[in-house]
Symmetry: C2
Subunit: 268 residues, 2 copies
């Protein structure tokens, strides 16, 4: 029964993945997952801290938030932790000038970054920009460097859109890693520093936080590595075979975000 949910105790903050948890993305903009709009409202009304922790790189945070607000979600830019702003901090710190292989709608996130005479490649979920020509161009920039630097905005294998599964940035990252014999630096989930930045925004310790996501490796595994509890929802890219994953076991499965919130709020 729900009163047995030990994993839901002593919670002060929630980290929510967005795509596959709040909504299913798609060419039409996507559709909310049943109960999720109301679940976000209930979290906020409960007094729990809340941060959205996404690997979304097909839009600026502003564009992304506007889309979600349009679906009825109570969400603001400051509540979103996303890879592109994190990558910009790294680029500035290390004087890196990127060649960008990203979605057109993400480019404004890099407006203040010097992109002349590139000394690294930044790859995101470029979707239709993953043409043969563009991937080859990024490859040539990398292979021309003495020590190739490849920064990847996430390393997801695939995600679910309304019309089916789509290859994510991780697949293209692997193509460039292999071609250039380099290892990418991943910014975004499951990087520990990325989860830590999201926790810092909430001012909550990992032991007091639960991550809720649909990706067994990048959401669940990454958050657990960070000392958080993590739930896998059975929405979005979830597949039954995830429950037999050889290395990662969530603290609990829930059918969807609404069910997770029901259980967590009962324990407050």
């Amino acid at each position: 029964g729900r009163e047995m949910a030990a994993w839901a105790r002593a919670v002060r903050g929630l980290l929510l993945d967005v795509s596959g948890v709040l909504y299913d993305s798609g060419g039409d903009g996507g559709v909310p997952i049943a109960g999720s709009v109301e679940a976000v409202r209930r979290i906020k009304a409960s007094g729990l801290k809340l941060q959205f922790c996404t690997n979304e790189t097909q839009a600026t945070r502003e564009g992304f938030v506007k889309k979600l607000q349009g679906m009825g979600f109570d969400i603001s830019v400051a509540e979103v932790t996303a890879p592109a702003p994190a990558a910009c901090r790294i680029l500035k710190e290390r004087n890196l000038r990127p060649h960008l292989l990203v979605h057109n709608d993400l480019v404004p996130e890099f407006a203040e970054i010097d992109k002349t005479n590139p000394n690294c490649v930044v790859i995101g979920d470029a979707a239709e920009n993953f043409t043969y020509g563009n991937l080859n161009e990024a490859f040539r920039v990398l292979i021309g460097m003495e020590k190739p630097v490849l920064i990847s905005l996430g390393k997801g294998r695939y995600y679910k859109e309304t019309d089916g599964l789509k290859l994510d940035v991780g697949a293209y990252m692997k193509a460039l890693e292999y071609a250039c014999d380099v290892q990418a630096e991943v910014v975004g989930k499951p990087a520990k520093t990325f989860f830590e930045a999201a926790l810092a925004e909430m001012g909550v310790a990992p032991q007091q936080a639960i991550m809720i996501g649909d990706d067994i490796v990048n959401d669940v595994g990454g958050a657990q590595q960070c000392g958080m509890r993590a739930l896998q929802v059975r929405t979005g890219k979830y597949r039954p075979c995830d429950e037999k994953h050889p290395h990662v076991k969530p603290d609990a499965y829930v059918n969807n975000l609404a069910e997770a919130v029901d259980i967590i709020l009962q324990q407050l």
Copy 2:
């Protein structure tokens, strides 16, 4: 001096890689590498056995041979060992029906293969056919299988065309391997069975054969694993850093095919 070339002794047959050894490919059809047309003629006049051992998958063997003949090379279809015919043998043996992600000009090689209701994916150097949509389609076919079967025509990282380096099939193979958590079966170099098939065509034992190629891993490493000697030419995709490869060391470096043939014929 050349009289010291112990590696060139007791040779009965030569296996030649084609792209980067005989010619540099390119959108214009490509250009012969200086001295290579004459070098092939001299091999044939010497009485040495000769087989061309290529991972070329942008054309049928017929189309490929015609192009090379047009550049002046003395070459026939029967002298060419290529991945697509080898893959067709495997598909028939195992009752596999492929979804093809290959170059348009390669499709006729699979004319006699049942491609309905696919139960595997065959990937080749599809070049411009490596669109976002096509890669995603191949991914969906694979991820929809209980046990995904991915057959890759080679696993090269990149090759050199007249206008620069290009990503090869291996990069896209890695993308699908990662996305679907499978390991591809490689048909073509450096697979041992592929070199053995080329040697069988010549009727020459591996100890009596020399492989000449521009790819340190797929030509040199693969042939040596098979018990052959192998030379790396400093043409095609050759890069000076190849000479510091951590695992593979050719029996000798030569500036080009013509130089290799000079030395080998002196030892006959």
